[in-house]
Symmetry: C2
Subunit: 550 residues, 2 copies
């Protein structure tokens, strides 16, 4: 690429060219929101004006406790209005929001809080027992702000500075927020891999504003139409997990009604979905599967028709999308990861597909989708050469976009592995079709190398999941002398007392061999029926543990 | 505002954090567009893929003619697919696109081309006679590229380098575009004021990308819903005028069908509106008034129902909005100016208003609207103090946003006047209501100071326009010994042979006095009936010339 010298012109001495600041998203939302509200469980609701006031009060609360720009502030909470306020107040004072993954093991939580150099902690009362034994190993933490919802006395040795609501209520409702370099870090969180310690990823004000603007444009696009000002949004991906896919920022920009469900309890989730008339949520396939398998939903005692669900984290299978559709639940897919803020692609249905019937749409709904604006996405072979958009050529997915973590925090070697030749390597394997839609077939390390070819464990899971009597399935590769690797499956039967036989499943898979979709050696010789499949802390299939169980 | 030191973290050595480049808008559009097309009059149509190829071919054509990054390239064309290609190819090679206002007087065009330091010119054959006598006063221009649509030989002394289509067709369809500083200037054009030479405003890649992303989000918002991938767009504000409000960039980002009408000829415009099923256009009120007054439209021989029109440049009056509505034409307002890229506010109807009937919506449709995301807008008194959002307090409108011209090109003094205390001063007078909607009442210099109060000439125009028998009206202030100033009106009667009397109009205005909307001294004592009201080159009321005619 040639290097050029374009024209840069001087600005008037008193001209302003504002930096991209997260606070601007909130201001836009307050203007747009009209009477829309922020709802917390069945406990509280308030206007956007009050939301803004609380962000200002939280900023005062934090700075009066000595929190400064550049400090890292940890939050341990379920999804709440408070968490949403932290999404804004902490970065807006120039500090860094560390969204702690509360589902990790205590020693991992300790690792992340120490590694992040957290100096102040906002903690929901439920996580106090978790932090109590860790506190003396976190000497850099200067104070803990308690979020208390129950009247019980909290029995703890943590150096609490007070209670969230009590301290907020004492503060003025206007804070004079600074402006600063848009490349300042706004958020930091940790992602767990299959090996080694959790890795910290971080995002700047600029990155989050650009991610939000593009997510907003994509979410309103025809063929997607997930969210706008007049819709009701409730996350079912935790806010500590990649900013709940950035959607709380996007919903705020739009001024949409936002419902935060606290701890994910099935009864509360369903209650809120119905009572708040939630239009849009996002979650991993496992969670959607739980919902569409729940007795009350299947029997249609509870009507969720009209609910739109964006599925990510793992691929949406056709059988799950169909099951949801039968209940009036409209699913869409998207693709991204912790390192990418996360949104990279969205399955914005092309006009002709959007106008077709559900059966024709089904394969499209299960693709990862089109790269959203400003995302450059390539599928490359082992030499880094882009593969053709033919829907067949499979290679590693690599990306560039203005919202990718620029490193793993304080991990030079792993950062260099993530970023090679100016591209972020996702570690995912996929293909692009003629219309530019991405399909993710696997993690590079989960691809099964059998008979000299790559077999996608995800694709095989999708085929097996269509077999009558199978509720859920996970496929991994096991070493085989003759074939290199062979696929093996762990499956949960619909009826635990009456699982299908291995032979039934194998016979069922013959149709895909006949259709040319699967090689004969892709039929697993080993299928184990189990009550439950191991999952990671964010609800994905835990292939690391599955390997040990097969 | 306190100065703070936030956390800036190092990037991995091989990490990429891409600059915001106009080329990314085109790439996004090609991915989204499916079968949507770029249409030019009844002459040509092609896919987005071909649009991209042509942009690459144009880049080769320009660079093979010696055009380099940093050079300024002038375009003189009517709205065309070629112009759209120039919107991309010229900035994408790092050069600056100068969109020449072809409606200016020849000596003003000469002034702007000389001042901009244009080194290369793309010129439609119709403007060759205009440039012929100017060329020897533009010695820095190295070549002229002719856009020829007719078979006639073009008789000219201009040093033509060839014909647009002929040269393009010889070039490869892939250009390896550079990336560079997002603060590089992408576009430059001139705005004419009431005094002095035209002033140059300029916009960077970063500014145009941010403007486009925000315009895209706003245009898809409920209560506005002007444009998306599945709609058909045709501008009726020239592309040389503030990038046709930036909409060609936005339409491209979305992958929408775009129709370019060439020279604005009423027959061709109507033909395209109908044959291409145009969903959305934008124009000044004068042009919309021409359309809704045209015999074929009024008689409903031509059905324009379903057409959405965004009105800007001057305020949309209630009578014009009603007239349009009666024909099934759905109007919306927006506000901005050459210096602001232009979009600042958009009348995105609040949910309750959007659900109300047309009569209730009417006043809202005629407001300038809500500031779009990332725009900070204030209405301030003479001391620069923000006025309350009460719908009454009137003051000057000043703004900050990441897409405002940072100066007038090579005009230090006028730049300092535009930018004072870090705010761009619009020179417009308006008020904000309780819901944050801006209403522009006047230009500061057009406010009539009468009886110790400010009288809005725009408001008075709106009242007079509702009087039966009045087709169009312009109000200015004339010096008056007793009152300081008094309003005077120039009006075009519906029936030229039978104009209403001054007394009829005055009597009609009494109702607004009775309603407390107008002071008695706001009723003009002088009303002159004329065949036509003088307009500026972009179709706005030319109050400078009106003053000389009253």
């Amino acid at each position: 690429m040639p290097s050029v010298t374009p024209k840069i012109l001087p600005s008037a001495a008193s001209a302003t060219n504002p930096a991209l600041m997260i606070g601007d998203l909130l201001e836009a939302g307050v203007r747009m929101a009209c009477d829309n509200q922020i709802v917390y469980r069945d406990q509280s609701r308030h206007s956007y004006e009050r939301f803004r006031e609380r962000v200002h009060q939280l900023a005062h609360t934090l700075t009066s406790q000595g929190v400064q720009a550049g400090d890292v502030v940890a939050v341990l909470d379920w999804d709440s209005h408070r968490y949403l306020e932290c999404f804004f107040a902490i970065p807006m004072i120039g500090a860094v929001l560390h969204t702690v993954n509360v589902r990790l093991a205590p020693e991992q939580i300790l690792y992340t809080m120490d590694h992040a150099e957290d100096v102040f902690v906002i903690v929901h009362e439920e996580f106090v027992p978790l932090l109590d034994p860790l506190a003396d190993k976190l000497p850099q933490v200067r104070g803990y702000l308690l979020c208390q919802e129950t009247p019980q006395t909290v029995d703890t040795t943590l150096p609490l500075v007070g209670e969230f609501e009590a301290l907020l209520s004492q503060q003025p409702t206007h804070y004079d927020f600074p402006t600063f370099d848009e490349n300042a870090v706004a958020t930091l969180f940790y992602t767990t891999g299959t090996t080694g310690n959790p890795k910290g990823v971080f995002f700047t004000h600029r990155q989050l504003v650009l991610h939000t603007l593009n997510e907003s444009s994509a979410f309103q696009a025809p063929g997607f139409e997930l969210l706008n000002r007049d819709k009701v949004y409730m996350p079912i991906t935790p806010m500590f997990h990649v900013h709940a896919w950035g959607v709380p920022y996007t919903a705020t920009l739009m001024g949409a009604t936002q419902v935060y469900p606290g701890r994910y309890e099935p009864e509360m989730l369903v209650k809120l979905l119905v009572s708040e008339k939630v239009d849009f949520s996002h979650c991993v396939p496992t969670l959607l599967n739980m919902v569409v398998s729940a007795e009350a939903i299947v029997s249609k005692q509870v009507d969720l028709s009209g609910w739109k669900v964006l599925v990510g984290g793992s691929a949406l299978t056709q059988s799950l999308a169909s099951k949801a559709w039968a209940l009036g639940i409209d699913t869409r897919s998207a693709y991204g990861m912790s390192e990418t803020c996360p949104l990279l692609t969205a399955d914005i249905l092309p006009k002709d597909i959007g106008e077709a019937d559900f059966e024709a749409q089904l394969p499209w709904r299960c693709k990862a989708g089109l790269p959203i604006p400003l995302v450059k996405l390539q599928v490359v072979d082992a030499n880094g050469e882009p593969l053709p958009n033919d829907g067949k050529s499979v290679g590693e997915v690599r990306v560039q976009a203005p919202w990718l973590t620029q490193a793993y925090y304080k991990e030079e070697k792993r950062s260099a592995e993530l970023w090679r030749n100016g591209w972020l390597h996702t570690g995912d394997v996929g293909s692009l079709d003629e219309r530019g839609f991405l399909t993710i077939s696997d993690r590079i390390k989960d691809v099964i190398k059998t008979g000299g070819e790559w077999l996608s464990s995800l694709e095989l899971e999708s085929y097996i999941s269509q077999c009558p009597g199978i509720a859920e399935v996970a496929v991994i590769g096991v070493t085989d002398e003759k074939w290199g690797e062979r696929p093996a499956a762990l499956a949960v039967p619909v009826d635990l007392n009456n699982p299908p036989t291995t032979e039934t499943v194998q016979a069922f898979l013959e149709q895909f061999v006949a259709q040319g979709k699967l090689n004969r050696w892709g039929i697993p010789s080993m299928i184990r029926f189990v009550d439950e499949i191991p999952k990671t802390s964010v609800g994905k299939l835990d292939k690391k543990r599955i390997r040990t169980e097969i």
